[in-house]
C-alpha cells in the first residue's frame, strides 16, 4: 500500500474534504503560504483559493467563535493553530460556547467545528510553545478529542471529524509529522472512541497516546528481547475513551503502564488508571504506573528537555517494574 507521512496524510484529508463538500473551509494564520503549517496545507490554496483557506488575523478567540457561527450557516469549518499554546486565547469560545452548543439548544443545533492544534516539542520551543492540554479538553463535555499517532489515523480521524456533527479537537504532535504509514487513497473514516492494539502481549498493558505511541512500541521491542511480552494500546482518541479495549487488555495482563505526553497530575494517564481501577481495582497484580512529563513547564535547554521528555528506556523500566513487583506468575486468560 501507499506510504505517506503524517503531514501528507493530513494534507490529503483536508484536500479531499474540500473537494467532497463546498461547506468545508479552513482558517488559520499563514495556512495559504508554501510552508503550509508543516506542509499540512501546502498546495491547497492553489487548488481551492483564498475564500476556502482564510489567512486569519491573529485573533484565535474570534476565529473559534466565527467557526461556530459559520457552522450555524451550514459550514464545516476547520481551524488551525500552529501551536497549541496559541489557542489558550480561545478557551472561552470553546468552554462556554462550542462545547455546550448542542446541550444548550437541547440537541436542536450541532456545531461541527474541527480544531487542529500542533504541539511544538523539540528544538528548544520552550514553555510557551510546547504545551499539550489534551487532558483539559477531555474533561470537557460536548467536545471530542483525537490524538492520532499514525498517518493512517491522522487522515481518517480528520475526515471523521470534519464530516461528523460534534466539535472536535485534533492534537497533532510536531514530532510525528515526518513519520510514515500506509495510507489508503480513498476518503475513509476512523471512528472516535476505538483504541487499537498495536502489539499483542500477555505480560503487561502499555497504554500510550499521540507522540508516546512510537516510543511505547520501541519500548516493547526492547522488552521483547528480555522475553517480556507487552501489549501496546494506542488510544487514538482520549474523548471518548475506549474503556472496553483497555479493560480487556488489563484483565488479561493484570498490569498497567500508561504513557502520556503531558503533565502528570490530573492527566489522561490519571483517567486511564481511574477507569481501569474502577473496573479491576481489586484484581491488579501490581500497582499501575504512569509515565508523563514532570509537573513542570517545558524548559528550552536541550539538557533539560532530555530530562523532561520520557523515552523508551523509561517506559521499559516502568514495565519491568510492574512485571517484577509480584511473582512472575502468568495470569490466566480472562
Amino acid at each position: 500500500m501507499r506510504s505517506l507521512t503524517y503531514a501528507q496524510a493530513i494534507n490529503e484529508a483536508l484536500g479531499q474534504a474540500l473537494e467532497l463538500s463546498p461547506s468545508v473551509f479552513l482558517a488559520g494564520q499563514m495556512i495559504d503560504y508554501k510552508s503550509g503549517v508543516f506542509g499540512t496545507t501546502t498546495g491547497l490554496v492553489e487548488r481551492f483559493g483564498r475564500e476556502r483557506l482564510l489567512d486569519f488575523p491573529v485573533a484565535e478567540s474570534l476565529m473559534t467563535s466565527a467557526a461556530l457561527g459559520a457552522a450555524l450557516a451550514g459550514m464545516r469549518p476547520v481551524i488551525i493553530h500552529q501551536r497549541h499554546d496559541f489557542m489558550m486565547y480561545s478557551l472561552d469560545a470553546i468552554v462556554n460556547w462550542l462545547a455546550l452548543w448542542r446541550f444548550k439548544s437541547n440537541g436542536e443545533s450541532n456545531a461541527p467545528v474541527t480544531i487542529r492544534t500542533v504541539v511544538g516539542r523539540g528544538w528548544g520551543q520552550g514553555p510557551q510553545h510546547s504545551k499539550s492540554l489534551h487532558a483539559w479538553f477531555a474533561h470537557l463535555p460536548g467536545l471530542q478529542v483525537a490524538m492520532p499517532a499514525t498517518a493512517h489515523d491522522a487522515k481518517g480521524l480528520m475526515l471523521e471529524s470534519i464530516f461528523g456533527e460534534n466539535p472536535t479537537l485534533i492534537v497533532e504532535h510536531r514530532s510525528l509529522f515526518s513519520m510514515t504509514d500506509d495510507v489508503p487513497e480513498e476518503a475513509y473514516r476512523v471512528p472516535f472512541g476505538k483504541a487499537v492494539v498495536r502489539r499483542s502481549g500477555g505480560d503487561a498493558t502499555l497504554t500510550a497516546v499521540g507522540a508516546m505511541v512510537p516510543t511505547a512500541l520501541r519500548a516493547a521491542e526492547i522488552l521483547a528481547e528480555e522475553s517480556i511480552d507487552v501489549e501496546v494500546i494506542d488510544l487514538r482518541t482520549v474523548s471518548p475513551l475506549d474503556v472496553a479495549t483497555l479493560c480487556n487488555s488489563v484483565s488479561k495482563t493484570k498490569r498497567l503502564v500508561v504513557a502520556d505526553p503531558a503533565w502528570r497530575s490530573v492527566s489522561i494517564a490519571a483517567e486511564v488508571m481511574a477507569v481501569v481501577c474502577e473496573k479491576l481495582g481489586d484484581r491488579l497484580a501490581a500497582q499501575p504506573v504512569r509515565i508523563c512529563h514532570p509537573d513542570s513547564h517545558t524548559p528550552m535547554s536541550g539538557t533539560l528537555e532530555s530530562a523532561y521528555y520520557p523515552g523508551e528506556q523509561q517506559l521499559a523500566a516502568a514495565v519491568r517494574e510492574v512485571c517484577g513487583q509480584s511473582r512472575r506468575r502468568r495470569p490466566h486468560a480472562a
Binding site: 485573533a59 466565527a66 450555524l72 523539540g122 471523521e160 476518503a187 475513509y188 473514516r189
Partner: protein, 372 residues
Amino acid sequence: MTQLTHAAIRAAGRYTGLSLRGADPDLVKRLHRFMLRLRICEQALMDEYHPADEMRCPIHFCIGQEAAPAALHEELEAEDYLFSHHRSHGYYLAKRAPLGALVAELYGKETGANGGRAGSQDLSSPVCRMYGGAILTGAVAISVGAALGEQLRGGRQVSVTGFGEAATEEGIFWEAVNFAALRKLPLVFVCENNLYSMYSPQLKRQPDDGISRRVAAFGVPTETIFGNDVVAVHQSVAGAVARARQGEGPTFIETYTYRWNGHVGPESDDWLEYRSEDELGFWKDNCPLALLEERMLESGWLTAQSKEQIVRESSEEIAAAIQFAKDSPFPTSPDWQGMNYAAETPAADALLQASSSSQFDQNQTFSMPGPY
C-alpha cells in the same frame, strides 16, 4: 447635540424628536404593538416571578428597552440570524419565536424553547435562528461567523447581534469589529447603551462615552441614536440590514436607552444606590412606548380603544403562556450522553468509506523536529 452621549441626552431634557412624518401607519402600528406586547409580557413575568417562585432561573428583564427588538422584529427575515446577550426576551420575540416556549423555558419545562436546559440567560431558538447566551460578548463573536458563513456560501441572509455597552469592554468585541470591517461582512451590531453594567456606570469602566467613535475608527459605519425613539431606531436598523443584505458590509448602531427594572430579577436593586431617582425618573418620562403613543394619538393611528385591545390580547396571550408553562411537564430521565453529543453522523456516512486498518511500521525512527 453634537455628539450623542448619555450626559447630552439628560442635558437636553425630555425628548421631542420623535416624528411620524412620512411614516407608514401600518409599520408604526406594528412597532407599537410589538413594544406594548413585550412590555406587558415582561411585566406579567415580573409580577409572577416571586410569589410563585416557579421560574427558578436568573432573568434579565428589559422594561424600557423595547425599541431595538421592535425594529428588528420588523426587518429580519425568518432565515436571518439574531444573536442576543443575557437580556434576551425582546430578541427572542423579535425573531417571532413562540411565547409559550419562552415562558415554559423559564419554568424549566420540557416544552421550553430549550427543553429547560438553558433558561432565560442562555435562551435560543435554533429553528427561528435566534441565539442567546450569558457570557458577555460571546454571542457577538459568534454572530461574525454566521455572517462569514453566509458570505462564503453566497447567501442573502444577514446576521444581527444585540448587546449592551459593557460588551465592548471585552477584547473579543474588537476582534469582531476588526474582522467584520476587513471582510465587509453582512452584519449589524446593535449596541443598547443603557449606561450600566449591572450597577457600574459606563464612565467608571470606559474612558469616555464614545463607543461609536471607537468602532468607526475601524472603518465600520456607525450611527448613534436616541434609543427610545422607535421610529428612529427602526430607520437605522432598516438601513443597516438593507446595506448588509446588499453586500455593503457591516453597520454599528448605538442606541442610547435605559433599563427600568433591576439588573436581574423582578425586584428593584435601587437599594444599592448606583443610580439616582432623578435619572430613573427622566428615563421613565422618556418611555419609548409613551413617546410613540403621544404622536400616534395625535395622528389618530392609536386610540384608547385600539390600545386597550392590544393590552387585552397581550395580557391574555401571556396569561395563557404562563398557564401552558405551568401545565407542562418537567424533563425527566436525562440522557446525559445524548444531550452533549450527537450520535448520528449522516454526512460522514454519506461521504466517507469504512475504515481499513493500517500496518504502522514500528521500527521507523522518531525524528525530532528542527528549528521552527
